[in-house]
Amino acid sequence: MQRLNVILALVVALLLLRAGTADARSYAKPEPSDFDDGYAFVENPDGTYTEYYSFNDDGTGIAIKGDTYTGEAIKLADRVTQEAAVDVGTTGQSGDSWVEGGTSRGQETADWLKEQLRTGEPYKSEGEATIGTDLEDLAESDATLPDIDSTISLISGAGFVASAAIAGVAIGTGIDEIFGLPTFFNETGAPGAGGIWVDADKIELLSSVHPCDKEWPNGAAITEKGAECVGVNGLLTWWNGSKYTEEDFNDNHYPLGAEWKEGEPANWADHKYAGQVDQQCGGSGETACELYLPYELPDEISKYGDIWTNEFPQKVTEAAKVNATGGSKSAQLPLSKKLKVPANTEIPAPLKTEVLPHLKERGEVTPEEEGEPLPEPTLPEIPQPGHDELATEYKTKVEIAGFTTVAIDTLPEIEIDTAIGPNDVVTADPAPGSRAVATTPVTVDANPGDASSSSPEGPGAKISGPGVPAIKLPKLGELCTVFPFGVPCWLYSQLKELATTREAPKWELEVLGQPLRVNLASMEPVMVIVRPALIFASVIGGVMFLVAFARRGGSEGGGSDSGGDDS
């Protein structure tokens, strides 16, 4: 009976464990009330945030699960929203290569982009901030981006990336880096104008604001919307470009709210990336919806593209709201996406002169004029902690600076900074020197109270000896390649070459006009015995030779007269 109880307990424990695991992997389930302007970020049980789109601003109607971001990414977006963004300069990119070109011209463009783009760190100067702001402004107003008509005319078979597209890519990617989010949309201004966005491995052109988007009535089901906005080729409009598959609409993945309706993604399969797809949407007077370039895409996104309208700024805004609830601190930023310029594409020269002059025309500071601290009088600045400053004292300093929510976080043992003492400030989040709104939660990371300091300061501090370096032996083996030091090595190699394969001698004689073939291979059974005997005799002879040589100093060889000169 006792054994049965143990088994039952184990079964229950396993079930609980499984239930807990399932919960940790599940997505959050947004309700219509979570949506604001058709968009929502919802925190998942594992600390990540999933974005959701809805047809209607109030979240009614179907919703689509979008990408999932780390808490850190959300936090970064929050900083961007608060204009506390972001950069360490134009050459500070690190990590894997996130932009590369398939051709020499493309590589030039890629190199130029690397010089322009951002890393997601705080700006150092007003000049850098200006660049970042202008990149965003350009996304909205720059005339170098093509309108939809010229965009269509530029597309011809496989070879298309116009100079304006390069500019768009540069600007958009810059924004991408600024925001630190994996995708972005580059809005060009007036509805109907062509926009360009870059998502990792693809370049896509699309209309900035889809006319069908505005025509959909609130609360209508997707099928109704699709019916209203069906294109000439029978595809749905807003939906057909989505990368979300039927799987996303499964009940397990798509949590339905009280008023939500399940979608019916008709014609999904029609919208594959089978080369260029020039889709016309709507009736007369409407501009093209999506224009897909032929591109080598991963399987995951090869079926469906991804359409972004001018929702991106909203995403950031929503991210800021979500940030107030906290996020995963240890998560990594989703930076480092690859932008590949297609190899079969003629790429014009980088439009360096089209962007930087734009900034200069405004009379604003260029990156070359860096050095001035970024003045942001409306936002308080996180003060710099002093060396060996107690966390409690630093917390007071931060509060005096204007921040209302300051908490001290004790670091775990593995992250202790031994250069400073116990209870001292290690760092703060947001980073010291950055600016943020006063309501931003500030975390002060501090050493635990029992942390030991390695600095030999104060009475009782132990002086530790220096680390013992390794002995670096010279590489004498390299001398084997040169004369005369290489002679022993050469002898060794040459003698090894002599130990080649053996072959039984065989020849042919002519005796009395008749050929006589001799093949000693038939003697092999005998040689199997003879050879070891010969080797043994050779070993004995060799040893005796060396002994005699050693005793006589090498002046005489052989062992037959050994002892003759020793007397």
């Binding site: 030999p456 104060g458 009475p459 009782g460 501090a461 132990k462 002086i463 530790s464 000896g465 220096p466 680390g467 013992v468 370096p469 390794a470 002995i471 670096k472 032996l473 010279p474 590489k475 004498l476 390299e478 001398l479 084997c480 390649t481 040169v482 004369f483 005369p484 030091f485 290489g486 002679v487 022993p488 090595c489 050469w490 002898l491 060794y492 190699s493 040459q494 003698l495 090894k496 070459e497 002599l498 130990a499 080649t500 394969t501 053996r502 072959e503 039984a504 001698p505 000693l520 040689m527 050879r531 010969l534 080797i535 050779s538 070993v539 060799g542 060396l546």
Partner: protein, 99 residues
């Protein structure tokens, strides 16, 4: 006072480590000089020729069938290498003594 004494004692205990590090640094300096000489020799001295392949020597395969000539010799190759090295060193020593 006890704290100061502990610091003093730990400092004295660390002296041995400092001496050891100094010794190893000196040894590494010596080895680095040798390495520099080796690299200079690599630049200045002629390179050794490649050994002749056994398959290119006529009759060697037959000879090895009768008597494992190459195997026996290569068995002694270590001793021969030592011998030739000793020859070179003794020559150098004799040269030094003569001076």
């Amino acid at each position: 006072v006890i704290g100061l004494l502990e610091t003093l004692v730990s400092g004295i205990e660390a002296i041995g480590d400092y001496v050891l590090v100094a010794g190893i640094d000196l040894l590494n300096l010596f080895f680095e000089a040798i390495q520099a000489a080796v690299e200079a020799a690599l630049l200045l001295l002629p390179t050794m020729p490649s050994p002749i392949s056994g398959s290119e020597i006529d009759g060697l395969a037959w000879l090895n069938w009768f008597y494992p000539f190459g195997s026996v010799l290569s068995g002694f190759v270590g001793l021969l290498a030592l011998y030739t090295t000793w020859l070179g060193l003794s020559w150098l020593l004799a040269l030094v003594r003569a001076d």
